[in-house]
């Protein structure tokens, strides 16, 4: 996670970019909440992705313990309404939820970066068209379109990821756009331009590397939003469908048993909340750590 900042002339800048190599993690260390969130997320991802290797109970197999059994050694979180092991479903559901979040984020990041960088770099007509589209997308309640799109296009995991990503790239585009405008004025970009580098090369070699910190911040916050969106569409029954477990559809499913087996509803809800919370804390912490305005003088 090393972010290198190219040495640039700093005399005429009102903000001083961080010197030499700044490790994102090192920058985070001062912010205990964000630092803690980072390690918490590492642990959660390890548990969810590696856990099923050790906890080999199948999430879709009916267990002998019967339905809605309370916790025991065989079933640490008990069983659900169809007598499936809740712990296994939490692990596998977590996998799906986190993958949806990560994949949607990566896709949003791709769209947002391309749109923002092109708009900022090329200016003129390209800028007008791309940024007007971005603003228009920000001005409409995207959730309605998510519902409409999933209704007609179906609810396969790939479609869910695609639709969430298409509804969530605008903020990233705006951030990248602003940064591109700023960086393209620097001498090293002008020098590259003068030496005949293609726009593609200038963007990918000179400008986008400078924006990486901002992209990391946006990406972190986008994962949080994507996980929440996934759970919301699952709640409405338009998300990834059973029997594939996700934290969102486990939550939806648990509603009718909230009295007899409250743990079924509490577990996925708590899991979603703390993961999203950690991503938000991490994103906020990263933004503060990387924002020159907040750097201690």
């Amino acid at each position: 996670m090393e972010v290198s900042t190219k040495p640039i002339l700093t005399e005429d800048l009102d903000v001083k970019p961080s010197q030499g190599k700044t490790s994102v993690l090192k920058a985070l260390r001062n912010n205990k909440v964000a630092y803690g969130s980072f390690w918490f997320l590492v642990v959660i991802h390890a548990v969810v992705f590696l856990g099923p290797l050790f906890w080999t109970t199948d999430p879709d197999t009916l267990q002998d313990a019967g339905s809605l059994a309370s916790w025991s050694l065989q079933h640490p979180f008990g069983t659900d309404d169809l007598s499936r092991d809740v712990f296994a479903r939490m692990l596998h559901g977590g996998r799906v939820t986190l993958i949806v979040g990560l994949a949607a984020m990566l896709f949003s990041l791709l769209i947002g970066t391309v749109v923002g960088a092109c708009a900022g770099f090329f200016g003129k007509v390209v800028e007008s068209i791309l940024m007007r589209i971005t603003e228009a997308m920000m001005a409409i309640p995207t959730f309605f379109f998510i519902l409409v799109a999933l209704t007609v296009l179906g609810t396969s995991p790939a479609m869910v990821i695609l639709v969430i990503a298409l509804a969530g790239w605008m903020e990233i585009a705006r951030v990248v756009y602003g940064e591109t405008l700023k960086w393209k004025e620097y001498e090293f970009v002008e020098a590259a331009n003068a030496s005949g580098a293609t726009p593609f090369r200038i963007l990918t070699k000179y400008i986008i590397p400078q924006i990486v910190p901002s992209i990391i911040v946006s990406g972190t916050l986008t994962i949080a939003a994507a996980i929440l969106t996934e759970s919301a569409i699952s709640y409405l029954g338009l998300g990834i469908q059973a029997p594939t477990a996700t934290w969102g559809n486990m939550l939806q499913n648990s509603q009718q048993y909230i009295w007899t087996a409250p743990v079924l509803g509490v577990l996925p809800g708590v899991a979603i909340t703390i993961v999203v919370l950690a991503y938000n804390f991490l994103g906020d912490g990263l933004r503060d750590a990387l924002d020159p305005k907040f750097v201690k003088k």
Partner: protein
């Protein structure tokens, strides 16, 4: 000023057209489109009759132009499932959503500005940390889960508040019946926008406080409370108007979930019914009406903004 508004109005109309085009083509060209919505047991003749009745045998472009022509005259078509005019169904439901969102905006703005200013003034102190912490929590909790937990607590455990419905309307109107049904939905919807307002107010306020004229005000010996509330807050409030405009789409998206949790018969539950029932004219209609609402709100925000900030007039 007039030019600025005309410009914005033009942009809004273009936005509206683009939204209708995307939605219409998405619905009509997707494999799960209108022709797939007929009952499974429909015979071939029934299908044919349905296709002709709905005009589905014509090219999409022709249908779109027909649809938009009717839409401009206030006719959004007929609901597949209920057979009622779409416009009528939407107008029945819209007031409930407007009611819910207006209460939410009022509470969020008042509380949000108060907490944001407090947080900025007490920067780095305990109050700031607590407010900041709860803002992030508010942004991170899935609204429907929080709703579920609140229903468990207040409706089922304590029995204080109703878990669903819009309260007594019409003849046997009672104030408590009305208010009690609003409390939980407004509370949930508030959590979806309040954190944004708090955080935005905080940063806006901090930005203003660091300006030179605030230092001047302090230097000339003005009381700290006057500096904060007269000099700083007035200018910090200007950008907050924009964020409120930007939050309206978010608010309406949040309303879908909130209405679903509490069985609130607004436009959010209407689009869910429409989507589940694959009632395409209704889906189309709701999307358009919601976009119009947002566009109108944005125009109002722009208008308000240009009234408050004299610099905008020259744009």
């Amino acid at each position: 000023m007039l030019r600025f508004l005309m410009n914005r109005l033009g942009q809004s109309i273009i936005l509206l057209l683009i939204v209708t085009i995307i939605t219409f083509f998405l619905i009509n060209l997707a494999p799960g489109g209108p022709s797939s919505t007929m009952r499974m047991d429909a015979t071939a003749e029934e299908r044919q009759a349905m296709v002709e009745k709905l005009g589905l045998d014509e090219p999409v472009m022709v249908r779109y132009i027909e649809w938009i022509g009717n839409a401009f005259q206030g006719d959004l078509g007929t609901s597949f499932n209920s057979g009622e005019p779409v416009t009528q169904r939407i107008l029945e439901r819209l007031p409930y959503t407007i009611e819910l969102t207006i209460f939410t905006i009022l509470i969020s703005v008042i509380l949000g500005i108060f907490l944001g200013v407090l947080s900025a003034i007490k920067r780095g102190k305990a109050q700031d940390h607590v407010i900041n912490f709860f803002s992030v929590v508010g942004l991170s909790v899935p609204a429907f889960w929080l709703g579920l937990m609140l229903i468990l607590l207040f409706s089922i455990n304590l029995g204080w508040l109703p878990s669903s419905g819009v309260g007594s309307r019409g003849e046997e109107f009672s104030l408590w019946g009305y208010v009690s049904h609003l409390i939980l939905p407004v509370l949930i919807l508030t959590t979806t926008v309040l954190p944004n307002i708090v955080r935005f107010t905080r940063s806006s306020m901090l930005e203003v406080i660091s300006q030179n004229y605030i230092r001047t005000a302090r230097a000339k010996g003005a009381k700290e409370s006057i500096v904060l509330y007269v000099h700083a807050l007035r200018n910090a409030l200007i950008p907050i108007i924009t964020i409120i405009g930007m939050l309206i789409p978010r608010l309406l998206s949040g309303a879908v979930i909130t209405e679903a949790i509490f069985g609130w018969t607004g436009i959010g539950t209407l689009i869910i019914e429409a989507a589940r029932g694959r009632d395409y004219p209704l889906v189309m209609g709701v999307t358009v009406v919601i976009t119009i609402v947002v566009v109108v709100c944005n125009l109002l925000v722009d208008l308000l903004y240009s009234r408050v900030d004299p610099r905008v007039k020259n744009v």
